[in-house]
Each structure stands twice: as C-alpha cells, then as structure tokens.
Amino acid sequence: MPYRLTEDQAALRDAVRILADEQIAPRAAEIDRTAEFPWDVKDLLASHDVLSLPFPEQYGGLGGDLLTVCLAVEQISRVCATSGLILAVQELASLPLLLFGTEEQKQRWFPDLAAGRHLIAFALTEAEAGSDVAAARTRARRDDATGDWIIDGSKRFISQGSVADLVVVFAATAESDDTPRHQRLSCFVVEKDTPGFGVERIEHKMGIRGSPTAELSFSGVRVPDAHRVGEIGQGFEIAMRTLDRSRPGIAAQAVGIAQGALEVASAYARDRTQFGKPIAEFQMIGAMLADMDAQTEAARQLLYKACTEIEAGAADAGRWSAMCKLVAGDTAMRVTTDAVQVLGGYGYIDEFPVERMMRDAKITQLYEGTQQIQRLVIARALAAPR
C-alpha cells in the first residue's frame, strides 16, 4: 500500500477543507462567544454528506474508513473545534451500534443518523465514574413481565447530550456484587422522547463552547430489550472497543486545532513588523514556528498511521489509539500556547482566533480518556506478558 492518501481520501479532505474555510470559519468566533450549538453548521455538514461519512453505504452512508472520517474532523477543527466535534461525536456514539448492533438496530437508526436528520450522544461518564468507567451507578433492571429494561441514574459531561435524538447509555445490570467489574455494565439506546429521560443542565466550559455538554437524568426510563446493544454484561467491552476506534477522532480534532493555530501564527508573523522587519524573520519567532510545524506534522502522521493500523485490525489497536490521542492532544496544547506567544498581546484578545484555539485545545487532553489514561493503556500494552 502506498504511504500516501488515496485519491478519494484527498478529494474528500479537500472538499471538506473548502467547506470549512468558506462556510464554517466565518462562524467560529460567534459560536464560541454565544456558546450556542451551531445548528446551521450541523445542517451544512448534513447537506454535504459529511455526517454520513462513518456509516455503511447500505444505510445511506458514505462508508468512509476511519482515516477519511479523521481527515474530515481535522479539516473542520482547523477552523472551529466545536464544529469538528459534531462529526466526531456522531461517529463516537454510533460505534457501539456499528461494532455490536444488530441488523434491525442499524436499519432502524442509521439512515436518519447518516442523513444528519438525527444526532446521537455517548453517555458513559458519571459524576463519580470518569476514568473508572466500571464504577457507573446508573442501573438498568429487567422488567420480567415485559422483558423491558428500566433505567435509573444520571450521566455527566455528555457531549451534545442535550441536542441528540438518541443517547447510547451504559448502565449497570449486574445483580450480584460478585460479578466481575468488567461484566457489570450493559449498553442501551434511549430515544430522547422516552418518558423519564431529561436534560438536567448544560455546563459552562472553557472551550468547545458551542458544543453543549449535558448532565442527563434517567428516571424510570423504559426501553424494550430490542434497544439493548450487545450482550448483557458486555457494556464495558463495548465502551472500550468504541474508545479504541473513537480516540483517533479526538486526535484529529487536536491536529486540526494545532494546524489552525500554526496557520494563524505564521500569517501573523509574516505581516507583523517590528524593528523594521516582519517578526517571522527573527530567529526566535522562526524557531517557534518551525517547532510548531514539525510537532503538528508528527502528530498528524502518527494519527494517520494509527487509523490505518486500527482499520486493518491490528492486535494493538488500543495502543495506537491511545498513542495518537496522547501525542495529538499534547501537541495541540503546546502549539496553540505558542501561537498565542507569537501573536503577543494580540494573541490574548479575541480579535484573533488563537486564544479560542488554546482554550479548545485543552479538552483534547481530557476527554475520551485523560492523557494519564492514555499512558496507562500504552503502558499496559508494554507490560503485558508475551
């Protein structure tokens, strides 16, 4: 296989880049300032089939591979991290169904998701169960008379939880305390209009401010057994397999943010004159820009490699996934911080986008597993007996 993007991948990337530059970039500052979910951007991504990328063709999707999805997330995030997250979350939350769903479940939910008519959210984290996923307290108990499941509990920090039509929720189904921790959870799809499902509040955040992060409550939410994804007790495995495949989406968001900041900083350094010449010609600025470029490219190449390894079914997919998010998240934070430095005082005010990019970058070190959890995943892969 040639070590380059295919023609299709390059063509789709370029199309998304044009869309991002011309239609989304002009909205980015306002999305950040108002902290309102950009429905117009969602509609734009839907009407240009961007949201259909992760879904198989038989359900109206484009059947894009993981790398293609990441190329799109990267290009959108280059101008607006909130907007890039719309595609990343649509992919993340659909993965349990893609990987473990039945044919009936896919037929029921994928066409609307692929067309962008519906959004979907991934509800795993709880107030007391963040990195320790298996500690989830949200419970699902079986109604033996009907076979339905009754879900009670709450979920916190759920990206797009308040705007989603479907929520994939992980709840404890183990009846005995003796059940191994990794077999306690099961996975369910909840449709937003189900009685007992509610949005408790939206968080005020440092970055990705247009992407609503919701606390969701489940109070006697009844779902049929047909809404259960995978086997009873398979929830932890489903969550982990999902994250193995979704973390590159966050790495792509991070690479996009870094690239966007690099481009703003380079352009500024070429235009800004001090002591009679453009500051890009001063070695201290030039060295910063060079490091930013090299680090961004390194993170990007690790991401692309990780995507192809994961797509090929590599045995150490979890390691690739953790490594690319770790490196890309840290790179985004460093590069955006340096971009603010290159712009000086102008970087610290909202006249330029780099302060927003710096705030947006921080989340990529936190969600879908903190950087510490990524290191844990990588270290475990190294420590595993051979």
Partner: protein, 265 residues
C-alpha cells in the same frame, strides 16, 4: 432537457502561482492547480437547477490539455452527468478562432436543447468564444443572462439579458446558446457523495481528428494561431496600502471620504 455546458480549466488564482512561460509567453499550466473557470460554474449551477426542475441531464464540453479530466471531475461532482473533452497536443496555443471552431464542431456533434457558457474566462478573458460558437452553429445567442426560463413543451427559452439600464427579455427557439452571469446565483459546493459519484461518471476524450471542425477547412491549433504574444511584464508592485480598522460605520465613512477626495465617486 439536455443542457451542454462549456467549461474551461483555468489556473487557481488563489494559489498565487500563475506565471507565463518565458520562451513563448503562454500560460504555464503546470505551475498551478486548475479549477473550473468561475463564470462557467455559474452556467453549470443554472443548468443543474433547470434540469432539477424540468428533468434531463447536464453534459460538460471542454477543450483543454490532458490534465483537464481532474478539473472536469470537480464539475461532475457538482452534478453534471457526463463530459466530453477535446484534447490534442496540436491544439496547444490555439487562438480564440481555433478554439471557437473546435468547440463548435464538437458541440455540433452532440444532442442538446440548450448550450450554456460563462461570460469569459479568468485566464485569457477574450469573451468571444460563446458568441463565435453560436454564430458557427447558427444558434440563437442570448448573452448576459440574469434569468433563464426554458419552456420544453413549446421548445423555446426566455432570458433576461442584463443591460446598462435594466434588462431585456429575449425569447428564442431551442436549441439556443445562453451566456450565464453571476446574477443566476452562487454555484453549489459539491457534496461528498457527489465527489464519490463523479469518479465513475463517463468522460469521453476526443482527439482533434475525432472532431469535425466547424467554420471551413482551414487548419486549427497552435500552428495556425493568428495571434502571438510578443512579450509580458509583471505588474508594478503595489504601492503603500492603507488599512482601515475602524468599526463598520466609521470605516465606511472613511472609505467614502478617501474615494471622494480623489473624485472617484
């Protein structure tokens, strides 16, 4: 309804890399990526809207170098059904007369109800090819269209032609050639599905020998060119630039004052 749209690949001015070849002053087409000529995109958009409303298909017609399919795929991704490319080394350096005769010959061999063209191209910018094609084929020529209303049953087309004072309403029998303008509406972005579908759409390439050239028996192509570029110079560097960073109202006031001072407005 079948609409043929004349499209030309031109250098992407956004790339900033356009240059002329120093030996013959012809455009160095290898120096930049090519895009669909912007005025042709307006024509294509109008054609797509009409076939969406009335049914039918849009076919591209291009005369260009061997790399043209890459650019034509972008137009196919917007929604055109298929394309015909006339490409031949002998056509390199064609003047506008040659281009007109070859395109008229190629168009004459196609089936169509309407032919659309952009007002001019951003590279050579002669703006006479569409009129020449219409003249050679004896087609009604409806230029500077701000609105195009075909009546497929009556086999007529009605066009609002922009004039200095407003517009004229023209009506002609089909087939006819219509020159599109920006007033027809912004061209669409290709959807990702459109891009994927474009890869498998039919693109027929014809050599010069496959085309029955219109307008007489005389030779066409670079060797028969009746014009030659004798020299070229880069424009002088831009002088001092004044950037106004005031809020919109104040900025507008200053721009108006600046122009009024110089009696430009």
């Amino acid at each position: 309804m079948r609409i043929v749209v004349l499209v030309k690949p031109v250098p992407d001015t956004a790339s900033g890399g356009e240059r002329l070849r120093p030996d013959d002053w012809r455009l160095d087409r290898a120096a930049t990526t090519a895009v669909v000529n912007a005025n042709d995109e307006y024509a294509l958009e109008a054609a797509l809207k009409l076939t969406e409303a009335h049914g039918g298909e849009v076919v591209l017609l291009t005369m260009a170098g061997a790399a043209a399919p890459e650019t034509m795929r972008k137009a196919l991704a917007m929604g055109a059904t298929s394309g015909v490319l006339v490409s031949d080394d002998a056509l390199g350096g064609s003047d506008m007369v040659s281009t007109t005769r070859v395109l008229a010959g190629a168009l004459g061999a196609m089936e169509y109800d309407l032919a659309f063209a952009g007002a001019d191209t951003s590279d050579s910018g002669g703006g006479i090819v569409p009129a020449g094609v219409a003249a050679l084929l004896g087609l009604p020529y409806l230029s500077y269209a701000a609105k195009i209303e075909p009546d497929p049953e009556a086999r007529t087309v009605r066009v609002n032609r922009i004039t200095p004072t407003g517009y004229d309403v023209l009506e002609a029998p089909m087939p006819a050639l219509v020159v599109a303008t920006q007033a027809l509406g912004e061209p669409r972005y290709p959807s990702l599905k459109g891009i994927m579908a474009a890869r498998s759409k039919a693109l027929e390439t014809k050599a010069l020998a496959d085309v029955s050239v219109a307008g007489g028996d005389g030779p066409v192509g670079g060797a028969a060119s009746t014009t030659a570029v004798l020299g070229a110079e880069a424009p002088p560097p831009r002088g001092a630039t004044r950037v106004i960073r005031e809020p919109a109202d104040e900025a507008a006031r200053q721009v108006v004052a600046f122009l009024a001072e110089r009696r430009i407005i």
